[in-house]
Amino acid sequence: MFRNLSYKSQRIIIIIAFSLIPVALLFTLAYLPVFNMFRYSFTDWNGYSKQFDYVGFENYKTIFTDPKYFSVFKVSLYYFVGSFLQMGLALYFATILSFKVRFKNFFKGVLFFPYLLNGVAIGFIFLFFFRPDGTLDTLLQAIGLGHLSQGWLLNPNIINVSLAGASLWRYMGFNLIIFLGAISSIGKDVYEASDIDGANRWHQFRHIILPSIKNIIQLNMILAISGAISAFDIPYIMTGGSNGSNTFVIQTVDVAFKYGKLGMASAMAVVLLIIVIIVTLLQKILIKGEK
């Protein structure tokens, strides 16, 4: 029945046939929920009831006028700073591991392993790690720095540093793998040529590796920053947002499921989505401006 169709229309049929399922999945699992989220954000839905009222911009008004909803963003700063450290470390390890190193694959495995672990497991590991006389304190005592040990999660000035540290440990492997992939795509002949010219490792990093993976660094940067704004799993599992470690996403989840204000929580999610989009756009514009 397709025999009489032109090559072009056959092509179209094939393309449609193959993309039908992925598009349907994408639509039902990604776009439809987001569309509904926008809709709910204008209601007072409690998450259960079959009926709800539209309240216009009431929810948004509350978010932007009540300081308690926005003040938690300062916690994101810890994760923001942490993400720079995370990128630096990932880049450092990726560079070292892309040269000839003994047990190279073993170290790659070790560094990537945390990313494969379940977030809940990591939360529990770090609860033991940070508790009084736990792993960290024992370690500090063993190397003679016992006087530094303290309530890692108890001290409100330190808790976010501790949590950002755990988050760094978890996500660094992901950045590392992406960097490794990008670095390995640089041709061997370029290194050889630079060796002949007398370049050392630092020169190679500065003038060959860094410019070649600039785009990937930008991508990782965007991911890291939006990750910092929407930090959730580590603090949620470890502290539930208590003791001054509350983040915007934890607060959204609380509003939705503890207080049954799904409309309000949807509005908060929309606000977060818009913030992430703005940050990403800003970054793109600023980086372009540099060129």
């Binding site: 409690n46 208590s242 509003v255 503890k258």
Partner: protein
């Protein structure tokens, strides 16, 4: 070339169609199967001792992940002796409240399930089958009022709990506390003695696990010394968190204990499972909990007689240990085998012995024998009473005000705040927190009750 392309296109279409057809045919099969079972079951005549009229397959959803494959399997076997044509399947959810809520947005949330506490009372009929008129069922069960809408009850409590302080008697004795403390001052003094002794943590809050903190709210009746306070007085007062009122006095004990260092050294890294063992072994003095925990801790203790239960300290004239429903068991509105589901609910509450054994509380069946833990208090000044239900027209007000104000009476948040302030992690005082809560209460109460 052309042929090839066409072939691929055809293949793609076939692929798409098989997937769609494949899915739908599966559904058909299941439906047919279920229908078949129903038919064969209902045609059989009832025989002696068993009830064959009731048949079908039901899914029971429970929160007891620990015993779903052991005790519940035995229950199903017992149940089948009476109802041989009912097939009972179990599903246990580890985070019951969180997971069931999401499932209830569909029609598929089992046949028999626990009524989530977070659904508003008025919405109950949208999800659950009425079990009967309150007036008629009242003579048979207690604790139905919690989920009664327009005179119809929607759930039976799986057990009736009482709340207070679970403590290790030996720790108290060793520290020189001879009599059980009755007032907050006596209680704090006793805790101080335990601290001075230096062996055990006097009062364990379980701050990091969060939910144990919500147990404090359930002793509000004891502090008020009045069964009317929670549902009748509370929604009609603007002074809910003001000095001298039950809420203020209740959490003042928590604040004082934390401030004087009578709680665990680092509350941010506590662990519930470990704390049960520590209480059993005398490393912890006391915890605020419900009666359901008694059995769990006793099971871990070398000497179960050391584990005792006392009412929360109060300045009130009467010492009332409040009785309160555990989860209520109900039937889904979308159940296909409501008769079989009803048979399970009745059997589970009346005949399974769950309420007193696994549930660890009192049976909701009127006239059932009291559990051993309750008999201990016979002849003392301690009274066991259910809370007065809300006045007609005010049902669900407390919950509505609470949620609108984001206070979270049954959430750990402001309890955590109190502990953080007490150990010096926040700059606010106890009165600051109470004022903040009260302001939110007043504002939302005006909104809800207008």
């Amino acid at each position: 070339m052309k042929r090839n392309k066409m072939f691929t296109g055809l293949m793609a279409l076939v692929l798409v169609f098989t997937m769609i057809v494949g899915c739908s045919s599966n559904t058909n099969n299941t439906e047919q199967n279920t229908a078949k079972t129903n038919e064969s079951g209902s045609n059989t005549a009832p025989t002696e001792g068993t009830d064959k009229a009731v048949s079908g397959e039901i899914t029971v959803i429970t929160q007891r992940t620990d015993i779903v494959d052991t005790v519940f399997k035995d229950y199903a076997m017992e149940f089948n002796k009476k109802y041989p044509d009912v097939k009972v399947n179990f599903q246990a959810l580890s985070d019951y409240e969180g997971q069931i809520k999401i499932r209830m947005n569909s029609d598929d949330y089992g046949d028999v399930l626990l009524l989530p506490t977070s659904i508003p009372l008025a919405d109950t009929p949208q999800f659950f089958e009425p079990l009967g008129d309150l007036d008629q069922m009242k003579s048979q069960y207690i604790g139905l009022e919690e989920r009664t809408v327009d005179g119809k009850s929607y759930g039976l409590p799986i057990t009736v709990n009482f709340s207070g302080i679970l403590y290790n008697k030996k720790v108290f004795d060793d520290a020189g506390v001879a009599t059980t403390p009755r007032t907050p001052d006596e209680f704090l003094a006793a805790l101080q003695k335990i601290k001075d002794k230096g062996v055990a943590t006097p009062l364990y809050t379980n701050y990091a696990d969060s939910w144990p903190l919500t147990q404090w709210e359930s002793v509000l009746t004891t502090v008020a010394g009045n069964v009317d306070y929670v549902n009748v007085t509370q929604p009609n007062t603007d002074d809910n968190f003001v000095a001298g009122q039950p809420h203020y006095d209740l959490y003042k004990v928590m604040y004082d204990a934390a401030q004087k260092g009578l709680i665990e050294k680092d509350p941010t890294t506590t662990n519930w499972e470990a704390s049960k063992a520590d209480l059993a072994n005398g490393k912890i003095g006391a915890m605020v909990l419900g009666s359901w925990a008694i059995g769990q801790v006793k099971a871990l203790a070398a000497n179960p007689d050391d584990i005792a239960f006392m009412p929360y300290p109060t300045n009130a004239e009467e010492v009332i240990m409040p009785l309160a429903d555990d989860y209520l068991l109900g039937i889904s509105l979308h159940s296909k085998n409501k008769e079989a589901a009803r048979a399970w609910v009745d059997w589970f509450i009346n005949e399974s012995s769950y309420p007193t054994t696994e549930g660890g509380g009192m049976s909701p069946v009127v006239g059932a024998e009291l559990p051993a833990t309750l008999k201990l208090f016979e002849g003392t000044e301690v009274k066991f009473e259910l809370q007065t239900p809300a006045t007609a027209g005010q049902e669900g007000w407390v919950d509505k005000i609470d949620k609108d104000a984001e206070i979270g009476l049954w959430q750990p948040d402001f309890k955590k705040r109190i502990i953080e302030a007490a150990i010096g992690n926040r700059s606010e005082s106890y009165d600051d927190i109470m004022k903040d809560l009260n302001d939110a209460w007043v504002k939302s109460r005006a909104k809800v009750t207008q």
